[in-house]
């Protein structure tokens, strides 16, 4: 353990104004060896993500504040702490008594809490957030401050200790605190109001199907969401309608907009029973907008699940690389859904029958990548389905990924060949059967001859 590091100052912003919880931690790191310690250069900083927050960590990134350059960050394996350690590697080493400012941005998919637990439509209710006001760190911290950024000025309540606590516009600032012991804990709570719902996808599966024959890239997405706003006790339609007219409706999720590519066609939005007719397409200069409206308003505590999808032209996403003789497919890891967090995400990529030497390139770690054989339209040997699983997906991960595979022309011609062979066999059968005489008696024509 390297204890020569001291956090001279930490400022932590916790942004609660959106669907996900964004934590931005700015740290001034000082390499300050004790007089009796060896003076060495340091080239990394260990950042702690305490439990149970680490269960919900969606993405984490680090950068140097002065230069704005991003830093490498990597999760370390097993440790005996309850927290998880992320090691940030510096670009240049930090000499003794040198300072460096770094910034760590973590996004969490934590389920929103609220109070009271159950309300009637239109009743006031608040989101609730609790957090250890002292930042957990492996190192001694000289000075620290935690700022809660809330959606608006309507802040119902916040903990008033440990002092100093200041409310400023839509912010609540705890601190600064000086020389806090490493193990000290003090939970603070803020109760704040937001008229927008907190929607979370419990399950989101995106299936990408590559078809060389149809020249399409089929995207289909299945969402199962829950509105994590205060639960509605009983849904009185008249109250809902009146609140809706007067614009006082809060925490109701009625639909969302999805950005889909310009070349999207065969667009659909359905659920288990069938087409949801209240959806439309809008054209924007660079893309299309799929405007969806759920079958019913999803008020606090309610769930909804649906499917949506479209076809794109494959040639816009698939490139053939002559040097490696491979096809490269570029597709988004996930699509943005109102910046809402996804708890369980799965990406399925179905490659054409006969695709070999498959390589998946994802710029961030995922939980697992599996391969499965499935049989689809007119398949003879089955095709490969890549299943990529990841928990806690946030909109920041909506980045392109690359899948490369080799695929030969014979694979492509197999299908029409099999189909034509089948029909040929069918006609052949008919011709043969037509020429067989089934009757027990000798037929007249034979007699004549």
């Amino acid at each position: 353990m390297n204890a020569t590091i001291v956090n001279t100052n930490i400022i932590r912003d916790i942004d609660l104004s959106d669907q996900t919880i964004r934590e931005k931690t700015r740290i001034v790191v000082l390499n300050s060896p004790e007089p009796d310690q060896k003076r060495t250069d340091i080239n990394y900083y260990d950042f702690l993500v305490p439990s149970p927050k680490n269960e919900y960590l969606g993405s984490i990134s680090a950068s140097e504040i002065k230069t704005g350059k991003s830093l490498k960050i990597k999760k370390l394996g097993e440790n005996n702490l309850s927290s998880e350690i992320y090691r940030i590697t510096f670009n240049e080493t930090l000499g003794p008594d040198e300072k460096k400012s770094i910034k760590i941005e973590a996004i969490y998919t934590t389920k929103t809490d609220f109070t009271p637990k159950e309300v009637s439509l239109g009743e006031e209710s608040y989101y609730k957030y609790s957090e250890n006001v002292y930042i957990e760190s492996m190192y001694a911290t000289l000075k620290q401050k935690t700022i809660f950024k809330l959606p608006n000025k309507n802040i119902k309540k916040y903990s008033d200790s440990p002092a100093p606590v200041v409310k400023k516009d839509s912010q609540v600032i705890f601190g600064p605190y000086k020389n806090i012991n490493k193990d000290e804990k003090e939970e603070v709570t803020v109760l704040y109001f937001d008229m927008y719902p907190r929607v979370r996808a419990n399950r989101y599966t995106r299936t990408v199907t590559v078809s060389h024959w149809a020249n399409t890239l089929g995207i289909s997405e299945n969402f199962a969401i829950i509105n994590n706003s205060p639960n509605i006790k009983n849904f009185k339609r008249s109250t809902y309608a009146i609140l809706g007219y007067s614009g006082k409706l809060i925490h109701a999720f009625t639909g969302s907009k999805f950005i889909i590519p310009k070349d999207a066609h065969n667009i659909y939005f359905t659920d288990a029973i069938g087409n949801v007719s209240t959806s439309s397409i809008e054209n924007t200069p660079r893309s299309k907008l799929l405007v969806t409206k759920a079958r019913f308003p999803i008020v606090g505590g309610w769930k909804y699940s649906w499917d949506q999808g479209y076809h794109s032209y494959l040639k816009n996403y698939l490139k053939y690389n002559k040097s490696t003789n491979k096809y490269n497919l570029k597709t988004l890891f996930s699509c943005e859904f109102m910046n809402s967090p996804v708890r369980n995400y799965e990406l399925h990529i179905i490659l054409p029958e006969g695709a070999r030497d498959i390589d998946v390139n994802i710029p961030f770690p995922v939980d697992s990548i599996e391969y499965e054989k499935i049989y689809s339209y007119l398949d003879f040997f089955g095709r490969t389905k890549i299943i990529i699983k990841k928990k806690n997906v946030v909109s920041e991960l909506s980045k392109p990924i690359l899948v490369s595979y080799s695929y030969s022309i014979t694979d492509m011609l197999r299908k029409p060949f099999i189909v034509s062979a089948f029909f040929f066999a069918l006609f052949l059968c008919r011709i043969t059967l037509g020429r067989i005489d089934y009757s027990l008696k000798r037929s007249k024509t034979l007699k004549k001859e």
């Binding site: 009983n234 849904f235 009185k236 339609r237 008249s238 109250t239 309608a241 009146i242 659920d271 288990a272 029973i273 069938g274 087409n275 949801v276 007719s277 209240t278 079958r295 019913f296 309610w302 769930k303 909804y304 699940s305 049989y375 689809s376 339209y377 007119l378 398949d379 003879f380 089948f422």
Partner: protein
């Protein structure tokens, strides 16, 4: 010889092409609903079929056969495998598996949606086969074309109408075709095939009873006409024995063919046929005098014994008493008085004459013409058509839905009628039937042959009528010339009118042909119109238009069902009127109390009683029955008249049948004797939870003069609900879902 061969080949090709086109048309015209709306299962019963099909595909045949469904008829459950006709489910499962095996992976829903249109094309083809069997292929093609687009059949076979009738009508027509073929040929093979398709029909639809009564009736009629033949004996014996044994393999039918009255006619005819055969056999070996005695004595003895047996079996209840639905076939007023649950179904109502016109249009006039032409020849098979026509018409008049069984015979006979007319009037060759005749100058043979060669050489289509006329040796022909015409004018008597017309044969021909063509065109336009406007609504989705004329989809049913499936507990038990049971099970996947199977009248009556009771009584019953949610339909916002308030009287009537002491229909009429809502309603009506749940909270969103648009009456001024809470109401208030309040800690009534 070779030339003639190639001509028949050409004709066959033409026939196949026409049939193919008919198939395409019959499938195409059934797709309105998919294009207008979407590929969705329609209405009520199809949702059950769809759900069971999904179960069959998922769990396999044996699981399906033994399926006990705890989700319906809570808390009784339903032995699904033993209480349904599995034909349609198995058919679609087979289609699905075959397509899957071939590498065509389609959704089982799409198989179910498109099954009925596919089978309708097969029906058209079997109508062709049947008509060709009894008449000729011209009539066959016309019959097929009619069958393909007759609205009477389309009403039950549009895409998405995944019901038994969808395949059953094909089976009905095809079984009859095989039967007629086997009678004509006396072939055991065709007898067996008839039995097999009869078995398929039994597995598919309760209407199989129609076949098992029609065929014996045909046999019986032939016997009465003295047309007993070995052919008849062979085919009926084969059919009856194999068909009956096969039909008993369906658990829902079981031993019914041996003891229910619906099957007795076939058994009796079978016995009678044996006696006839025996008598004929005796006839060949015993001298005539003693034969008479034997037959008389035998007849008396057998009648006596049979009568005794029948009486005995009826008394000991071995022969099941007639069921209500069967009675209502004979007496249309029966159900209304005795079995409200049957009378409450709109498709069991007697048919109004307009619906004959709507469903069959011009065919309904051509139908008797066809019967007339059939009487002219009256072969064994044509006797069948007449019997079918009579019984089909009767049943269609009794129950609206049975227009469906009438449609095939109407199409067939209309096909015969039109083909006869065309045969006569479309023959422009000089020696047609209409051409002036002179029986004194029999020099026809040569001329005919010449003309046939000419007409067949130029036009394949015209060839057929000619051929037919040459077959008919009774008619004589004459080449028409100017001289014969002038001679004919002098002829007297009955030929006078004909002779007058025959002055302008072509004009008359053109006039008549043009008229028929116009009529048929009208029929086609009418069919398309009816199909697109009346029969293509899924009824799960409604559509209307807004003030600017844009189409608005009203999707409240699915909205509410989807809400239930997403936001109630998986084992939640939902009470609704039985109409929505299958939809609830199919779309919301929740336990229901009553559904469209309507096998347990008491259960339905209990639900009716709950809905008609005041809050405390209903609350107690709801607690006793472990009901989690109550779902009702309300159409007052949209002006949708098929809602629960309008069905309410039936609920009361059905409930009254079981709970006569606590439920009385009179109490729901106000002092003026009217069935009304709102402030003018009777006290029982205002107190009933149906009334309260329909109008609860509604006034708050309506303007100063709140109206119920479905009934055009004022809304009640105040509606309170103490024992139940509103859980969900759909966008247009069509579906309203309530929950009983939980019993509170202090046991207060009503719970606070």
């Amino acid at each position: 010889m070779v030339e003639a061969d190639s001509k028949t080949k050409q004709l066959n090709l033409l026939k196949i092409a026409i049939l193919l086109l008919i198939s395409i048309v019959s499938i195409g015209s059934r797709l309105f609903s998919v294009i207008r709306f979407e590929s969705i299962i329609h209405e009520f019963d199809p949702w059950f079929n769809y759900r069971t099909t999904k179960y069959l595909v998922k769990n396999g045949f044996y699981e399906f056969w033994n399926w006990f469904d705890p989700q319906s008829w809570y808390p009784l459950g339903r032995v699904v495998g033993g209480t349904l006709y599995p034909g349609i489910m198995v058919t679609s499962a087979v289609f699905y598996k075959v397509l899957d095996f071939l590498g065509l992976h389609v959704d089982i829903r799409d198989v179910c949606v498109f099954l009925a249109p596919f089978f309708s094309s097969l029906t058209a083809i079997s109508a062709y086969l049947l008509t060709s069997e009894v008449k000729n292929s011209t009539a066959g093609l016309l019959a097929a074309a009619f069958m393909g687009i007759a609205p009477g059949y389309i009403s039950r076979s549009v895409a998405g109408s995944y019901d038994n009738e969808g395949i059953a009508i094909f089976l009905l027509v095809f079984t009859f075709y095989l039967w007629l073929k086997s009678v004509r040929l006396g072939s055991m093979l065709y007898g067996c095939l008839t039995a097999i398709f009869y078995f398929y029909m039994v597995s598919a639809w309760g209407g199989y009873v129609f076949i098992i009564n029609m065929i014996p009736l045909h046999v019986f009629a032939l016997l009465l006409m003295g047309r007993f033949s070995n052919n008849l004996y062979v085919s009926y014996s084969t059919f009856y024995v194999i068909g009956t044994l096969a039909s008993m393999q369906i658990p829902f039918v079981g031993f019914q063919p041996t003891f229910t009255s619906e099957h007795m006619a076939s058994l009796g005819t079978f016995g009678l046929l044996q006696l006839f055969a025996f008598a004929y056999y005796l006839n060949s070996i015993v001298p005539k005098n003693s034969l008479k005695l034997i037959i008389r004595a035998g007849a008396v003895l057998i009648t006596f014994v049979m009568g005794l047996v029948l009486v005995y079996l009826t008394i000991t209840k071995k022969i099941a008493p007639w069921t209500g639905r069967f009675y209502s076939l004979w007496d249309t007023g029966y159900a209304k008085i005795h079995v409200p649950i049957i009378a409450s179904v709109s498709e069991h109502q007697p048919t109004v004459w307009t619906s004959f016109f709507m469903d069959l249009n011009v065919l309904i006039w051509l139908f008797p013409v066809g019967i007339y032409f059939v009487y002219q020849e009256l072969t064994d098979n044509q006797v069948f058509l007449i019997i079918y026509a009579i019984f089909g018409s009767y049943f269609a008049g009794v129950m609206v839905r049975l227009i469906l069984t009438l449609t095939p015979i109407v199409c067939i006979l209309a096909g015969i009628a039109v083909s006869e007319l065309f045969d006569t009037y479309l023959d422009f060759s000089p020696n047609s039937k209409l051409a002036p005749q002179n029986p004194n100058k029999p020099k026809e043979k040569e001329n005919i042959e010449v003309s046939i060669e000419k007409s067949t050489g130029t036009d394949v289509g015209n060839n057929k009528p000619n051929k037919r006329t040459t077959d008919k040796k009774s008619v004589t022909f004459e080449k028409s010339t100017e001289s014969t015409k002038t001679k004919n004018i002098k002829q007297t008597g009955e030929n006078k009118e004909k002779m007058f017309l025959s002055k302008f044969p072509k004009v008359v021909q053109l006039f008549v042909t043009g008229g028929i063509v116009a009529l048929l065109t009208l029929f086609q336009i009418h069919s398309t119109w009816v199909t697109s406007n009346a029969y293509s609504s899924p009824s799960v989705i409604l559509s209307s238009s807004d003030s600017s004329g844009n189409r608005v989809i009203i999707d409240d049913f699915r909205e509410a069902y989807n809400w239930i499936s997403q936001n109630t507990k998986e084992d939640a038990k939902i009470m609704s009127w039985w109409d929505y049971g299958y939809q609830l099970a199919g779309m919301a996947n929740r336990t229901t109390f009553v559904d469209n199977n309507t096998w347990n009248n008491t259960h339905i009556a209990t639900v009716g009683k709950i809905l008609a009771s005041d809050e405390p009584t209903a609350y107690k019953l709801v607690q006793d029955l472990d009901i989690d949610y109550i779902l009702i339909m309300y159409g007052g916002i949209l002006g949708y008249s098929g809602d629960d308030i309008n069905k309410f009287l039936w609920m009361i009537r059905i409930g009254q049948g079981v709970y006569p002491e606590s439920l009385k229909e009179d109490r729901f009429y106000n002092s003026q004797g009217q069935y009304s809502i709102g402030d003018t309603a009777s006290k029982a009506m205002k107190d009933s939870i149906m009334h309260k749940m329909s109008y609860y909270g509604l006034k708050e969103v309506m303007g100063p003069q709140p109206m119920d648009r479905a009934r055009r009456q004022q809304l009640p001024s105040e509606v309170t609900l103490d024992y139940f809470t509103e859980e969900y109401s759909s966008e247009n208030w069509m579906v309203r879902i309530y929950k009983p309040k939980p019993i509170d800690i202090l046991g207060r009534v009503p719970p606070k």
